[in-house]
């Protein structure tokens, strides 16, 4: 039951991870990276690691993404790969 949910989220994690490194737009990559972190956080919540999930939600999905967006804002969205 929870195992299946687990697997589905893992699948999404992997997809968003691959997406983050393949999409040809750094802002998009940053957002996908945020999504990746958020899915990771869900995964950990399901696995019972509530504190880790909390931290990942605030740090990974929150601040990391903001920092990334800020950096993209200060550099460029362009990427060749």
């Amino acid at each position: 039951m929870s195992g299946q949910l687990d697997m589905i989220i893992l699948l999404f994690v992997i997809i968003s991870g691959i997406g983050a490194i393949t999409v040809r737009d750094l802002l998009g990559a940053a957002i996908l990276f945020g999504a990746y972190s958020f899915l990771m956080c869900l995964l950990w919540a399901i696995m019972g690691a509530v504190d880790v999930a909390f931290t990942e939600a605030s740090v990974g999905a929150g601040v990391s993404t903001v920092l990334f967006v800020a950096a993209v804002f200060r550099t460029t969205r362009r990427t060749k790969d």
Binding site: V50, D51, F54, S58, L67, V69, A70, R74
Partner: protein, 277 residues
Amino acid sequence: MKLVALASALLCGTILLFGTAEFPDFGDPDSPAASHVSPRYIEEAMAETSAPNIVTAVLADYRGFDTLFETAVVFSAAMACFFLLRIFGEDERRPSEKLYRHLPTGITLRIDPGGKVPDSPEFERIDGIWIPHDVIVKTTTRLIIPFIQLFGLYVIAHGHHSPGGGFQGGVILGASVILYAISQNLRQALGRMGEAVSAVFCAAGVFIYAGAGALCLLMGANFLDYSGLAPLFGVDAIQARSLGILVVEIGVGLAVMSAMVWIYYNLASMGRHQEGL
């Protein structure tokens, strides 16, 4: 290059996969990881530290030394960003045009270098690259931010009993300031929480943590052995541990909050601290 990368990644993965065959089964309650050290935490943490959240107990007490340095890592990262990016006195050295918005009308004025700056509360300085003028966003964030901060404080304070603690709370508090900076602008955020404040708060947060540990040393206990603080708090050793955890969580929260804000300031403005997200 791509092939090399793929090959090395695959090689690495294959080797690791090969190892998983001998792993204990996922979720096996008798695996060494579940049966050697950790049971003590689960069974005794409550009695020894009076913190029902075992993670908090382990984080701030049993392995408090790790966490001290974890906080120090955040501090050094913030310091590193400041060290690498901050540009001092850019404004004076390279005067550039400034943009002002007339609030009642929304008209944007451009003032060339050397031009006279309008001296009226109706004018607001704005950034050339980031000019949101959205009353809805500004008002909403103004409303939300206090609650976010309240929640952050709650998370720090309630870390003993529920998920959360200094890190999470600190990040939430930091995020509230960052949100303020994004919704208004960087200068206003800097006006609320300046650079010196972030830097000193950041160091002070870690200092609270390390100082609590050093205080234990002075009281004759080992470093970070909060039970040594019992005479100071006037409670028994176990309660002293609980209070010690609270003290260091506050330190962590302070440090992490300021660090996040500080990193954001430098990163978003390329260290110039005038224009930014």
